[in-house]
Amino acid sequence: MDFGFSEEQELLRSTARKFFENECASELVRTMMATPEGTTPEFWAKLAEQGWLGLIFPEAYGGVGLGFVDVVVLMEEMGRASMPGPYFSTVLLGGLAILEAGSEAQKKEWLPKIAAGEAKVALAWTEPSARWDAQGVTLAASASTGGFTLTGTKLFILDAHLADAVVVAARTAQGPSPEEGVSLFLVPRATKGLEVKLLPTMDQTRKLCEVTLTGVSVPAAALLGEKGKGWAPLARVVERATVALCAEMCGGAQRVLDMTTEYAKIRVAFGKPIGAYQGVKHRAADMLVEVENAKSITYYAGWAVDESAPDAALAVSMAKAYVSDAYRRVSAGGIQLHGGIGFTWEHDLHLYFKRAKSSEFTFGDATYHRERVAQLINL
């Protein structure tokens, strides 16, 4: 048993940390998050240069062909930097959906472009019902001459306003179970009838959209994978993206703990550094325990999805449940221990506090995943 990272993975971590410290410092994060794009063409090109936009795509599709334990390492560092922009949506949602469900032609067309930084793809899955199960997919796709007509509304869609194409989860049939009859479509952003509205979000580093499809006509070739069998690949995409999200959350939580510890060493009150007081010290210790456990369960989930371990789904739900609570509490603790300065716009803590909140409610919060754990352990 080896529950540690390889030398290559440690190298990826140190390279990424240096890269984000230089290229994605807080000033740039703030500049980028204030724009609708959340990134700049120059920064995006640098991510492509590093090979990170194709990290998980096989070399045949212009990628680097690494696994999810590697993704975990990189995402931790992105979370540490609170990096804004459509990386998560393009690589781990849209891109992964094409890799998972797409035909050879679709993969050849899109994945190399994504890896090169020339295309972005969003995943339009959730709807106003905010359900994470198959029953939540109600957007209608009815058969028409030579293809399908899509009508309905998708909500909480990451970065659809930047996408060149959107993977849309739609219902082509009402099956005996909600999982049957879900189909995925790859719809070019410019298709007539597809409207994207950018929504104001609490976490400015995450851009959420409403995507409305009104009688959108697509050819049969737009199907991503088999008709009516789209739920299984979609669930696999979401399972793995959830691991990546957890890793990003761990990185953010660690950064909050680091900032808080440093501050507690230098901020003096009543003649002593505040870190000398047990009220502060003990809360910092609680934060450390949560950060370490969050990493442990996330690393396990990363390994489990890479290996397709029998308990992979359980591992992912355990991770999302634990990490959702941990990041929320750690980032709130960071603000508390900083006092007034932690509540200012100027201090970076609010970037992490808000990212904790947006991440908590992406792909199901702790309560949702605890119930899933209960089901998966046959309770």
């Binding site: 529950f3 870190g275 047990q278 210790a285 609680d286 450390l288 352990i377």
Partner: protein, 398 residues
């Protein structure tokens, strides 16, 4: 990262599994179904036999060097053994303080003669060990201990008192910290002794705890003469030696604790399946499902945080921050588990052993009460947080 076992580890697992299948004491599960983390008096003889059997089969002291009776294996085999014991709901190792603390400390600091003399009987369970650290006025602030040891020829004469001493009533030997130089700075004048519990002048007085059991003791020393040959690691060097013991405690007991937690959790889930509350099965209640799932998650987190610590150990790296969190995490999870057991039983949680109305023979009542000590023994949660704050995070001392 690879959590799969090597073929050698796999075959060790099979060896353990087969052996446990054939040798588990049959009535154990019925007698102590809940997570009794410390042996109760009635289980003492059974546990002594159990350790003997484990030892004969070569399963005690896996990581100890071969020349001192161990098998020279890695912590990985230790982990596998503990996991298999948990799966089989096997009884714990009685002489855990000897195997986990005294033995490794003697092997690290002892003279060759000491290393030949003590460790083999620790493994076989012939010598049960207890730990004489805490005193009435020296608990969390251990360095303020006052038990005196005065040199007299080739002996030291011990006077003073220890308290909260688990297993002292059955122990043959004690790891004793006593003050040999009262004028030196607090940490500098302490010596680590190996004390024969049968020496004249040693009095053990059981201390009845809130469970009603007397598992802890007070130990009094009245002019107890200890030969020089029973000093471990040099006179006035006891603080460093004692801290080593505590480090081993963290690792050795850590695995055991996590395993007992898993046994307790499995028991809790079995109970949830059997019990009804307000006319419906407990497992149907969304609130209870949330609480059980959280315990499951926390238990798994402890396991994988432990696995990270073991990995560093196996690679020869220094322990990272993850190594220091285990005790606290375990305490918190175990106390919540025991609280939940009471919540599930509702009004029945009030009934103790001795009535057929008591759920599962009243065993959970004992483990619930016992769990209150978890956040005090082996370093209080407050001290653990100080240690994490100061040694891991580098925050200033208060």
């Amino acid at each position: 990262m690879d959590l799969k076992l090597t073929p050698e580890q796999q075959s060790f697992r099979d060896e353990v599994r087969v052996w446990l299948g054939a040798n588990m004491p049959r009535d154990w599960t019925a007698r102590v179904m809940a997570s009794a983390d410390v042996p109760r008096p009635e289980a003492y003889l059974l546990l002594r036999d159990w350790q003997r059997k484990l030892h004969q089969a070569g399963f005690i002291g896996l990581t100890w060097p071969k020349e001192y009776g161990g098998r020279g294996l890695t912590f990985m085999e230790e982990v596998i053994l503990h996991e298999e014991m948990a799966l089989a709901k096997a009884p714990p190792v009685l002489n855990i303080l000897g195997v986990g603390m005294a033995g490794p400390t003697i092997i690290a600091y002892g003279t060759e003669e000491q290393k030949r003399r003590y460790p083999p009987k620790i493994l076989s369970g012939d010598d049960i060990w207890c730990q004489g650290y805490s005193e009435p006025n020296a608990g969390s602030d251990l360095a303020s201990l006052q038990t005196r040891a005065v040199k007299d020829g080739e002996h030291f004469v011990i006077n003073g008192q220890k308290v909260w001493t688990s297993l002292a009533h059955v122990a043959d030997w004690m790891m004793l910290l006593a003050r040999t130089d009262p004028d030196a700075p607090r940490h500098k004048g302490i010596t680590y002794f190996l004390l024969d519990m049968r020496a004249p002048g040693v009095t053990v007085k059981p201390l009845r705890q809130l469970t009603g059991d007397a598992e802890f003791n007070e130990v009094f020393f009245d002019n107890v003469r200890v030969p020089e040959s029973q000093v471990l690691g040099g006179v006035n060097n006891g603080w460093g030696v004692g801290m080593t013991t505590l480090m081993y405690e963290r690792f050795a007991l850590g695995f055991g604790l996590q395993v007992r937690l898993r046994i307790g959790l499995d028991g809790l889930i079995e109970m949830a399946r059997r019990l009804e509350k307000h006319g419906a099965s407990i497992t149907k209640s969304p609130v209870m499902r949330q609480k059980i799932a959280q315990l499951w998650i926390d238990t798994e987190c402890l396991k994988y945080t432990g696995a990270r610590a073991i990995t560093r150990l196996l690679k020869g790296d220094l322990p990272g921050p993850e190594a220091s969190t285990g005790k606290m995490g375990w305490v918190d999870t175990h106390q919540r588990l025991q609280e939940l057991a009471m919540e599930m039983q509702g009004p029945y949680s009030q009934l103790m052993k001795g009535t057929e109305w008591a759920v599962e023979g009243g065993l959970w009542q004992y483990t619930f009460l016992r769990s209150r000590a978890n956040s005090i023994e082996g370093g209080t949660t407050e001290i653990q947080k100080n240690i994490i704050g100061e040694r891991v995070l580098g925050l200033p001392k208060g």
